[in-house]
Amino acid sequence: MTGLTIDHLSMRFDLPNGQAVQALKDVSLDLKAGELMSVLGPSGCGKTTLLNIVAGFLAPTDGKVILNGKTVRGPGAERGMVFQQGALFEWMSVRENVGFGPSMKGMNKAKKKEIVDHLLDVVGLRDFKEKAVYELSGGMQQRVALARCLANDPDVILMDEPLGALDALTREKMQGLVLKLWKETGKTIILITHSVEEALLLGERLVVMAPRPGRIHREYNLPFAEMGVNKDLREVKKHPDFAKTREEILSMIWDMEEEIMGRTEKA
């Protein structure tokens, strides 16, 4: 049985002052292999907590995550992760960063070199192989992070706002790259983002989460990711449904934020 099942996940943090925060409550999702799902929500809705549980960095207080029939009990190479920034190893060159996963497995050098060279070609960093990562721009660093993750050939790729720190133009290019990699590799991808537009463009499925407690508010199935694979992303954005859905989701999130504000004011 392939695919990722998130089964009635709950997460409660006990604070030192005796109170508790319900970060997630009864979250259930099913992802088929090769699905690209984006997760959207106001800050504090538990998106990152959800991702950290799937990655195995956190143990849920209730429920479980099942990948290919096995319950997740900790981090593992079959679930690769791409972070917003600062997760590259600055003491290694671009090539060593991308080859990190294969090195850890003890893969032989020739095979590793083949994988690394191929991936650097794919992300367009062939000429930067021997550079130190801190010599690259932010966009290039995220390409390295993507390539590093892919080099390990994970079943699921978890992306925690991977493009959040990039400028608008670079971001658009990288969105295209993410779609391309998704289609070419056929990986299951969960992508967390703050940007409604990005969530629409990249999410075959889109989950909007609501805060306090963190829960799934609404789910969409969207055609835009599939469109974007062979089309210019700017063309996709001109699609009438795109604008309509964006407005709908924006006002949904806006209402949530207002509700939070109101609640805080009363308290």
Partner: protein
């Protein structure tokens, strides 16, 4: 309250001393500003630059536009040597740059006596002031005729001399005669008369106190001239000092520092890692490290001497302790400072705990460890010199301490300069090593 009173008194004394330095400070600042004005003028005639820095219109408040001005550094160092040479009468400087030196040579003055019956008489005192290296006898003079007879005295430069000028007079002090004038000016016991070459005072007992002018230059015992220090350096590097060559003195100090530091690093770095990686180790060692860190290594010297004596073992234990806590704290903060996303990334790339230690935690902590090593080397160098000041048979600190007991100020100065240069060299070496070995420092 008594203590407070005493401390208040001390404070007043210290501030009083500082106040006398104040005009010199002001003068120094004026020199700095003056050279700045001159430099600005000079630069206008040089080819103007159009780099990014020189085209800035806002420089005040822009920290990045403040880079060290090489010209200022050169002038500053040159000025120190100039002042050093000027105030010591250095032969390296042309004479007109010297501040006035002590009076040297022969001169004379007259004194007048008055006998009980009211007669007055004059006599001449010949004063020969000789340089420190060339002692001379009292110059021979004709005693002359009359009631008062001529005298002579030889005085070393920077010194003064008491002269009982009346002893050879016809009517002496015992007879009731007293000195009433010096060089035509009236003088009473306790007074003094300023002459062109110095000062003559009359003590309450009626003796002349002759003080030739000391000028502005420093006696070599306070501050030897640069060439004297250099000559001493050549001499000691050839012949050694106190049964050891100069290389041995400095080599022993360096040896102690390096062995102490290496031992401290060998124990301190794993200790810091253990504290950064395990709550049990952190709990175990936190109180010890937090207590030992603020104890200055110098305060441990007496205990180390009691326990291990004044041999090499004691010194190395001391330096080991000086380096240990610094290295442990550096390694600990290097481990704690690793970004959790790096560790998470490594885990999700399939790394084991050991691989994370080897490929993430250790390389990530190296910049912090290097910073700690730089601090530790500096502290160790300072500590070894201080420990040698207290007790040692060889070493840079011992050399200057012994020299100070023999008032060999030139050796003391030479030692201080060498200690400073070596300390600076160590720091440069550590910075270079840091650049080469951890180029990713501060780039994470």
């Amino acid at each position: 309250m008594d203590l407070l009173g005493k401390l208040g008194g001390e404070l007043v004394g210290v501030l009083g001393t500082l106040w006398t330095i104040f005009p010199f400070l002001v003068g120094y600042v004026l020199v700095i500003l003056g050279t700045l004005a001159i430099w600005r003028g000079v630069r206008r005639f040089l080819r103007p630059k159009h780099d990014f820095g020189s085209l800035k219109t806002v420089t005040f408040g822009d920290e990045s536009s403040v880079t060290s001005n090489t010209a200022a550094s050169v002038i500053s160092i040159a000025l120190i040597f100039l002042a050093w040479g000027a105030f010591t009468g250095s032969r390296l400087l042309p004479g007109f740059l010297h501040v006035p030196g002590p009076f040297v040579g022969q001169t004379e003055f007259t004194y007048a006596i008055k006998t009980p019956d009211g007669t007055t008489a004059d006599a001449t005192v010949t004063v020969l002031v000789y340089p420190a290296g060339a002692p001379a006898d009292d110059p021979a003079v004709e005693a002359g005729t009359g009631i008062a007879r001529n005298d002579s005295v030889a005085i070393q430069e920077y010194r003064s001399s008491l002269l009982r000028a009346q002893d050879n007079d016809q009517v002496t002090k015992d007879d009731g005669a007293e000195i009433v004038g010096v060089d035509g000016k009236a003088i009473a016991p306790g007074d003094s008369v300023r002459l062109g070459w110095g000062r003559v005072a009359l003590t309450p007992k009626g003796t002349l106190n002759i003080e030739p002018s000391k000028g502005w230059q420093m006696e070599p015992i306070w501050l030897p001239a640069p060439e004297a220090v250099w000559a001493r350096f050549i001499e000691i590097s050839k012949e050694g000092y106190r049964n050891s060559t100069l290389a041995e003195h400095l080599g022993y100090s360096l040896f102690r520092v390096i062995v102490g530091f290496v031992l401290g690093a060998i124990i301190g770095i794993p200790l810091g890692y253990a504290m950064g990686l395990s709550d049990w180790f952190r709990g175990w060692f936190d109180p010890i490290v937090e207590f030992m860190r603020p104890v200055p290594p110098l305060a441990l010297i007496p205990l180390v001497i009691i326990w291990a004596g004044i041999g090499e073992t004691g010194k190395i234990i001391l330096l080991f302790l000086a380096a240990l806590w610094i290295m442990a704290i550096g390694a600990r903060s290097g481990v704690s400072g690793v970004r959790i996303s790096k560790v998470h990334a490594a885990y999700s790339l399939g790394a084991s705990k050991w691989q994370i230690m080897r490929h993430v935690i250790i390389p990530n902590s190296l910049p912090e460890i290097f910073t700690a090593a730089r601090v530790a080397m500096g502290v160790c160098w300072g500590t070894v010199v201080a420990a040698e000041l207290v007790a040692a048979e060889k070493g840079a600190g011992m050399m200057i301490m012994v020299a100070s007991k023999f008032q060999s100020t030139d050796i003391v100065l030479m030692g201080i300069i060498l200690i400073g240069l070596i300390g600076f060299g160590i720091d440069l070496l550590m910075r270079w090593a840091e650049r080469v070995l951890v180029p990713w420092k501060g780039k994470g």
